[in-house]
Structure formats: C-alpha cells, structure tokens
Symmetry: C2
Subunit: 451 residues, 2 copies
C-alpha cells in the first residue's frame, strides 16, 4: 500500500465497488484504493435469500477478483476521520492516506423503531455484514416462530424464502398492504395472496407496540392488544443513509443523506458521495426521493467515475427513475417509475392502461404463463410515468425496458408504434405485445368514448 492515492473510495458495497471498477477500467493510470470495513463484502440484494436458498454467507460474496484484476487496491479497515484541508484520511488501524479525490460510499444503516424491547436477545436487524448475517442465518434456521416487522421488499422476500423452510412466519405491516410504497394495490394484493398460499401470515394496518420477553424475545404485542408468539423477531422497516463520517468532516447533510449536486459532488469539491449515503432526487419532480437501490448506487458510481476520469461520458444524474424487481413464490413482480397512487399523490393527472397476455405464443406451449402489465401516463402529453408487471422471470428485463422508455421520455403515442421482436418460446405474441396493448387501452380512455 502507498500513502497517497489519486482516488480513495470509502465503502465496498454496490456503489464503492462499481466506482472503483469503472474508474480503473476508464483510467488505468489512476491509483485507486478501496477501503471497506468487512473482509468479505456481501451482495446486498440477495441477503433475504440467505434464509433458505443460499446455503452459506460465503455463497453471497461480491467477488474481489474483478477489482484486483484491474489493479484496485483493497484495504479492510475503517475510515475514522477526514482532514479536508490536508486531503487525508485516518483509519481505525492507525493508517493515514492522502487522496486526490475521495468517494464516500458509506451505505445505509437499518432504521431502529422506538419500540419497547427492541434490544432483547433474538431481535435482529438486517445489517450487511458477514458476521451478523452468519448469526442471523443460524438463528432463522433454528427458530420455529418468526415475526418480521415490516412488509417492504426485504420483509416479503425473507418471508418467501423462509416459507420454503416451512417456518411459521408472520409479517406485521403498518400500511394497508405490503409493498405499498412501490406497487399499486392490485399488485401488492397479489404478492400477499401468494405469500398466504405458502402459509405466511400477513397482518396489515398493524403497529407493533412492544417486543415481549425476559432474557430473550417471546412475543410481539400490537397496539390493538393482540400478541404474536415469536422465537425470533426480524426488524425490516427500512434504512437511513449512513452519514456519520461525512457529518464529522463537516460536509453538508440534507434531510435524506449527504447533500450532493447533480455531479454527485458534496459541499467539498474534492469529495463525492454515492449510493445509499447520498441524497437522491426524483426523475419526475426533482423532489427528494428515498430510492435506495444497489442499481441506483451503481449508476451514480459511473457518473462519478466519468467526472473523476475527466471524460466526455455523461457526468450528471438528472433524477432517479427507480426500478424495483422482486420474485415471490415463483412469480416475478416489477415496477419502474411512479405507481398510479404515487403519481396522483405527486399531483399528476394520470391515465392508465392495462394488458393481460401469456409470455409464450401460442398459449398452448408448455410453460406459458400469464403476464400482467399496467402503464401509467400523464394525461398532459401522454408521457409514460410508470409501469408495473407480474409474471415469469422475463418481467425483469421487461420492466427494464419500461424503465428505459421512461428515461427516454416516451409517450403512449410512441409506445403504440414501438418495434419489438417476438419468438414463441421467449415473448408474448406479436399481435398482443402487452406494452402496445396497454398503451392502446390508455389511449382509448383518453379519447373518452368519442367513438
């Protein structure tokens, strides 16, 4: 290790990893040091699947080889202090490094709701650390009765994977449905139905008042007085940006993370912040948005890499679209951009179009499954604001296609004449491609029964 680097990246998750990787890909002349707290970096998105699908935490490692192959140096250490004037950092192991540019990718930390008993033994939070997850993995596999507080993505994915182990799982969600921050009600209800069919109990509109137990957790008490017995409790009520290092260094912090401009530059021109620790703005309104996703982190990392590399690659983030994907009980769900209810809350006058088809053609082909699509347009101009879908695995890239259409400011008029390819085993029929059908159905509503 040297004592000075052109670029130092703090954090080894999706943001830091992609920043280091991209920088060295673009500029092998720059010395890049990545400092992360953990010996082994976990793939964040797959953490819920450590319950059953992934045997061990070692099967869920973000590999170092691609970084090392490109010449990124990796230090397992913790950055304690930044001296912005001297452009140096100091670490827990007592080392000191000089930096040209510093990238903060310090991630997020789980929300800890102020519930009585939250610190009892047997109450777990999802912390992206090998040691913590190793312990949680053992605990969930041993437990019989598991209560999950929070029906967001982590909560439902964890419940789904746990149900494969035939555990007694209960989700407690404060909103009327699970996933309601990312899916419209009709899709959220489908997710719940699948989970219920797999034996998961779902209690919505419920607030946890206390976690009960003497030495360790024994039950969860709701505000309506009901109690649910629990061997362990997993708290998955979201995360908040980890801004402590930035705060200590006197960088500007906003309500939703480290304050950054559209170049992902903090209040110090030599320091960038990316990923969960940095504030984000909506693609649609520019207002702050809590879209903390690994894919967004990787996108921001590339923007910063272009800025530091000094290249004519795009150097700004002009708002986060937000593309969410999950798979519950074998059914894929996805959403890009705004849901109908979100769009309405934001003040858009919307029109929606739906389509239902099969993902192979003819539908008599083995393995053909139903696909449902909903598109949300702004009445004003017909701009695509969002899309949701469920069906087979191809919903993943299908939602990415919708996400791209949003980014390229496409309208329902454009989608009506979208060109696409089809194949019996790979896509819906050419006469019923669901994006086109949904756009057409939205258009019909827009014309308000003129014909």
């Amino acid at each position: 290790m040297k004592d000075a680097y052109d670029v130092i990246v703090v954090g080894g998750g999706a943001a830091g990893y992609t920043a280091a990787l991209t920088l060295r890909t673009l500029r092998s002349d720059l010395d890049v040091l990545l400092i992360r707290a953990d010996e082994k970096a976990q793939v964040p998105c797959a953490i819920p699947y450590l319950a059953a699908t992934l045997e061990t935490c070692d099967k869920n490692i973000l590999p170092d080889e691609p970084l090392k192959k490109l010449g990124v140096e990796i230090a397992v250490d913790e950055v304690l202090d930044i001296n912005r004037e001297a452009k140096t950092i100091e670490t827990a192991k007592g080392l000191k490094f000089k930096y040209g540019k510093l990238i903060l990718a310090t991630g997020s930390i789980p929300h800890t709701p102020p519930i009585k008993g939250i610190n009892l033994k047997g109450v777990y939070k999802i912390i992206k650390k090998w040691e913590v997850l190793q312990e949680l993995q053992k605990a969930v596999r041993k437990a019989e009765k598991i209560v999950i507080i929070g029906g967001g993505f982590i909560g439902v994915e964890l419940a789904d994977d746990l149900s494969n182990l035939k555990k007694d799982v209960t989700i407690i969600e404060i909103l009327p449905h699970c996933l309601l921050l990312n899916l419209d009600e009709e899709f959220a209800v489908k997710v719940e139905e699948i989970l219920k069919s797999k034996g998961v109990k779902i209690m919505t509109n419920c607030r946890v008042e206390a976690i009960l137990g003497k030495e360790k957790v024994e039950a969860v008490r709701l505000s309506d007085g009901r109690t649910i017995p629990a061997d362990i409790v997993i708290v998955a009520v979201g995360v908040r940006p980890n801004t402590s290092l930035a705060e200590k260094a006197g960088l500007k912090i906003s309500e939703r993370g480290i304050a950054v401009d559209e170049y992902m530059r903090t209040s110090d021109p030599n320091i960038y912040a990316i990923g969960d620790c940095a504030e984000k703005h909506s693609f649609f309104t520019g207002t702050p948005t809590p879209t903390l996703l690994a894919s967004v982190a990787a996108f921001e990392a590339r923007v910063v890499a272009a800025n530091i590399a000094g290249l004519r690659l795009p150097r700004t983030v002009l708002g986060v679209v937000g593309v969410f994907l999950t798979k519950i009980g074998g059914e894929a769900f996805g959403a890009a951009g705004l849901t109908e209810s979100m769009a309405k809350r934001m003040g858009f006058d919307v029109i929606t179009g739906k389509a239902e088809t099969v993902d192979k053609h003819p539908g008599t082909l083995p393995g053909a499954r139903k696909t449902e699509v909903k598109l949300i347009f702004s009445k004003d101009g017909g701009y695509l604001l969002g899309g949701e879908a469920c069906g087979g695995n191809c919903v993943g890239e299908f939602i990415n296609l919708i996400g791209l259409a949003i980014q390229r400011h496409m309208t329902l008029y454009d989608l009506y004449t979208m060109q696409y390819g089809t194949h019996p085993f790979l896509t819906p029929s050419p006469v019923a491609y669901p994006i086109v059908t949904a756009a057409l159905n939205a258009y019909k509503k827009l014309k308000a029964k003129v014909y």
Copy 2:
C-alpha cells in the same frame, strides 16, 4: 354479411389480424370485414415447433375470439379481383363487396429454388396453411432421414425441434454459416455447435444441385458431387412477398413487394398494404430491406389502423429496425438492428463492445446461466446500431430493450448511464449490467488507448 364495409382486410395472418383488431378497438363505429383463405389461421412463428413440441396444428391457431368479440366479421374466402374504380372486390365464392378502404395483407410465399427434382414427392415447402402443415407434420414424424435446405431461422428451429424426436437431420446451407443474415459469425457458430451437440448435421458452403429419386425423393446431390440420403426434404430458403392480387389490380410493385409510402399507402390512396406483401425500408439507411417478420407486420398494421381511424396516433413507418429472436437447444439468441458485418457492409465505421455475465446474482444461485451481449455502435456520434445476445429466456425482452434503445437513437454515452433495476433471481448484478459494460468496453476502444 353485408355488401359494403368501411374497411376490408385481405389476409388473416399477423398483419391482417392486428389491423382488424386495432381498427375495431379504436373505432367500433367502423364496419370491418376480414377475408382469409383458411378456415383456421396458423400462428406463423410457431410453425417449426409443429415438428415435435406442438402435438397438432390445432394447438397453433391464431384465435378468432378476440376479433369476434370486437365485432370484426370474418369470411373464409379468397379475393380474386379488385375493381379500384368501383371500390369493390370479388371473391372465389362469387361474392362482391364494396369497400371504403382496403388493406392488403396477403403475406408471402416460399421461394422455390430452380433445383432439379424440386417437385418430387416428399419435397416440402413451408406453406402457412393448416392442411399443408398437417401433412408435413405427419411426414416429418414418419421420416427417419430429413434434409433441410436452408439454415435460416425456419431451418435451424425446425432442425432443433426435430432433433428432439431423434431424427437424422441434415441442414444444407449455401453461406459459410447458418443464420448469417441475422447474426454475426460468433453467435451463428454457437447456434451450430448447439445443433451439432444434439446430433444435427450441418453442411455449410454447400449448394444443392439436384434432388434425386424415382417416385419420391431418395437423396439430395450437392454441387461438389456428394449425395445425402433423405426420406423427405424440406425447402426453407426464404419467402417472397405475395403480390399477385395487387399486381392484377394494377398497383405499383417494387423489387421487394407492393410499393408503399411511409403511411403504408399503395399507389391507390384507398388501398394500404402491410406485412410480408409490402416493401420495407431500413431504419438506418432507408434502403429496401427484406425484414419479413410477424412483429413488423403487427407494427405496420397499427400504423394503418391509425391512418384509417383518423386519429392522432403515429401514422408513419420511418424504417424497420428488425428484431430477431430464436431459441436453439434451450439457449435463446437475439439480434436487434444491424449486426457488425451488416453495418460494415452498409458503410458504417463501427465500434463494438462485449460483455459476459450471468443472468442471476450472485452467480451461485441455482439456475444462473451465462449471458453474452455484443453492442454495435457507429464511431461517428456513438449511436447504437445493433445488439446481439445469447443466454436464458430473458434474452427475449433484453433484446427488445436494445431494440428500443436503437429506436430512441441512444448512444453509447446514454447507455453508460442507463438506469435499470436488478434482482438476484431475475437479472445480472447491478455492478455488471451487461448493456452498460458493453457500452463501457466500446468506449474504451473508441478512446484508442489514450490511457
């Protein structure tokens, strides 16, 4: 049935079907008659899978219900004559109808190469008619030794499906590789390797000189003198536009089909032509292109529906992008836009970028499979000209995403900061999304090792 209709559609394939469906969806006040020669319309794209996957031709029907539900009238008949002045048509059953607008969707007919013995018993062409396909299905299932002349999509898909029946299948292709009109060599070779591993014999750079046999086919003789024994021979060397009705009516015919303007209007303002029978132009150069695909037919049908319905939906076809998909031995292949070799032949100065990844993350997840992507850009401006991919089923919508990026004139700069979503079971990793990696790799080449 009435004796006059606002719109008469001639042909019930993907083009005619979609035109009638879309017209009545947009304008239920218009009387629409669809005339087709066949009692049962076959799904064109799935015809190769009648060999083994689809038990009977009845499992491969383009359903009438959606049309009937919308009030489209269907006549099984053949249009023999168009009287353009009187705006009437006459049919084989002796009926006469008046039309307001006429849509010709008469499709294509198989090329018949001038080979000695082509009319022997046991030599089949792929004609999209229930009766013909029914007979072919019986013949291929009975035959042991099957020779397929032509290694295009139909040829390789048919060979793949036949290999599932453990038949002795030989493809004879005149070019150096199968599928070379739609895939670059490295992907075409992969297709061949898969087919060979399934026992299919592939003879490339080979020209058929004669089909031998007395009463029925016995063998195929190549121009180099070799002979290949055959119980049946299937000729799949492409199709040509079926323009006979249009010609008879005195409409302008071009080298590649019924001549149409960008509104898909023929030389008669009251007659439109769509699908395989109509000429097409390239999205990239405006030059004629032989992209005869069901998905293109459906796209053109929607453009004509907008024109006839008189709505502010897009009314022009500004070039065909061309999106091809297939699946061989369980591996999906796709191409959108131009291949590298096509682009070079057209005079583009190109730069390519590749990426290889797995379609799940971490790669240790069950069922994770390799995905390969190649993107082709114009050096001038960095515009995306084409993309190819192979891997699991999601290659279908992934190629459609690339097709959309081409349509929206995206550059490698845009793709570098594309926003997308990821999920362990549904997509590659956020740090290695292959479109972004391929764009980055192309950019690196463009910078020509400055760093």
